[in-house]
Symmetry: C2
Subunit: 354 residues, 2 copies
């Protein structure tokens, strides 16, 4: 087995956490007998500031030739807000039809959660966020802009095929887990979109009679998720609500440093993309203070998607073990630097399960 992986370290702490992840990846290759062909690709805020290039046809073609994309982080205070988001991240999600944004919300042993009394057994769910449509389609217009009677209209476009693919994915995921799927929306207010989501869940659900289906409004979700995460197994939601509740999920599991994500292409037409949830954190870049575990766990998700399930599980187990030993999750109090954490996870992976 040989996997062609494009590596985009990006900006800020991106290169550091990616380097740590690649160390772990190398150890997994040796231990589990697979190979990778890595292509380092320059992209992101600094690249944009230097070249003016965001998501170009050339980059798209280059990345498309790979089985997966490993992503560090993107962003720089010198770039206008929104430019990289729309010009690169959304462009990639769309070009590669990365229909699902997958966000496990798992509290690991030894990680300090801000939620009083929350234990790892009670916090193990996955949020499946629709990743290509809804309010993210970029449709909006302003009439009488700049006047006292300006009106801005913003559209959310929701298609049955777009919803169906993530809903079907969610049911299959739930089948492999605790067999419970919760739709999160605001269907009492966003009636048209909400009904289409609910109808799709109802209809697709007939093919998965062993999965229990539930519905929770997005506002109520913010109320329940922090205090009763055990109520949820797989949560499926639209693009905007997913953006919001996944950040809440990250709080619960102890912060952005630990949180991993996947942007999954489901039809094999293009590579999926894997990245930690954290941003580029330019203020601490280059100091070795960043926790690479979010990136390492994203690498594990990448391997799982490439069929290397054993390696993925070993990396997750090793990362969780090392994480539990860190006195602090990031910063100078972490006990070792970013590279050190990577090395320790790598050596556990190399030595077999911890």
């Amino acid at each position: 087995r040989n996997h062609r992986i494009a590596v985009v370290p990006g900006d800020g702490i991106g290169p550091e956490v990616i380097d740590a992840s690649l160390e772990v990846l190398a150890a997994a290759e040796t231990a589990f007998g697979f190979g990778t062909e890595l292509t380092r690709v320059e992209a992101g805020a600094r690249h944009y500031l230097r070249t003016g290039e965001l998501w170009t046809p050339e980059l798209e073609e280059q990345l498309r030739g790979h089985d997966a994309v490993l992503f560090g982080a993107m962003g720089d205070p010198a770039v206008q807000p929104g430019v990289l988001e729309r010009g690169f991240i959304l462009a990639m999600r769309k070009a590669f039809q990365q229909a699902v944004n997958l966000r496990p919300v798992k509290l690991y042993e030894g990680v300090a959660t801000p939620i009083a009394g929350l234990t790892p057994e009670r916090c193990d769910l996955v949020i499946v966020r629709e990743n290509t449509e809804g309010a993210y389609v970029g449709r909006g217009s302003t009439v009488h802009a700049g006047t006292p009677y300006a009106v801005a209209v913003q559209e959310s476009v929701n298609t049955r095929p777009g919803i169906e693919r993530v809903v079907d994915y969610s049911f299959r995921l739930a089948q492999q887990r605790r067999k419970k799927l919760t739709l999160c929306h605001k269907k009492n207010i966003l009636v048209e979109a909400g009904n289409l989501w609910q109808d799709t869940v109802d209809e697709v659900g007939r093919r998965y009679p062993d999965v229990e289906v539930d519905y929770v409004h997005v506002d109520a979700m913010c109320f329940h998720l922090p205090v009763a995460p055990e109520r949820f197994d797989v949560v499926v939601t639209d693009n905007l609500f997913g953006d919001i509740i996944t950040d809440l999920g990250a709080v619960i599991q102890g912060g952005l440093g630990v949180a991993a994500s996947a942007n999954l292409n489901l039809d094999g037409s293009a590579p999926s993309m894997f990245e930690a949830i954290h941003g580029s954190a330019p203020d601490i870049a280059g100091r070795g203070w960043a926790n690479p575990v979010g990136a390492v766990l994203s690498t594990a998700m990448c391997l799982a998607s490439l069929g290397e399930r054993e390696a993925a599980l070993a990396i997750e187990a090793a990362a969780v073990h090392v994480l539990a030993g860190l006195p602090q999750l990031s910063g100078p109090g972490m006990g070792m630097d970013t590279a050190g954490v990577g090395k320790e996870i790598a050596s556990l992976v190399g030595a077999g399960l911890p």
Copy 2:
């Protein structure tokens, strides 16, 4: 001073918490020398199930003749989801142009918050939610409904006057507080609406040079609000984001039982409406298990809006004092029943500040 207040107890625990609030109100009248004329109005889920009536022109006219509306709770499992929300609550907000939905997020002494280590000093902010437009305008349509290629489009309509009035209100509120205003939106993605919000904040802000202005994306808000509420003083946001983050605010302050809200008409054309955040909780109705403090604090907000600031402060102080003495926030472990809590707050209000 005589205030004409319409009282809508509604369903479930609504009548109980309203009764407790009226006991407190009566004590405040005596202690602070003002009068009220109360009209009890039947409306809500049970009324709808009996009569088929939701928001009628007659009800609108009746309520309009009052200085304020005190609201219990609305909802019953026998009513289709969305019917009361759209048919009554949104109808009232619109008919009475209740432009601002005001939600204080305040952690009171002695109240158990699920956020580890959070203290009352660190948690005292107010969320100002736009209450009449945005995604709540009810504009949407579905093409090819019921087919595999159905498309649902949902619109958010944002007007400069609609935004300006809540932004201006927010600046004035911030001036009376810690002089910090945070706009919460998702302007990197919802560009048209986000720009109109940001432009309005920037322009209105010139009239309030003493107020510091900040911006936080709604997803980041979910990340920061639970762990660093001290970063916020007044948060202004749109209707949908406000719906979401105010529920998160309620979690932080220890739950729905304690949370109060106001739906403010700002131009004097119609009454404002005051209600606890909690729902009708039909499962515990009639048992005296509901905590009336959310309703009592809403009554205090009502009095403040009617110019009875001293009475409002006294009620808040008394409620907070009684709250701190409750072994549990609701249920059989509360130590006394709903009416008992009301009586105790009332007697403190009657006796002067605790």
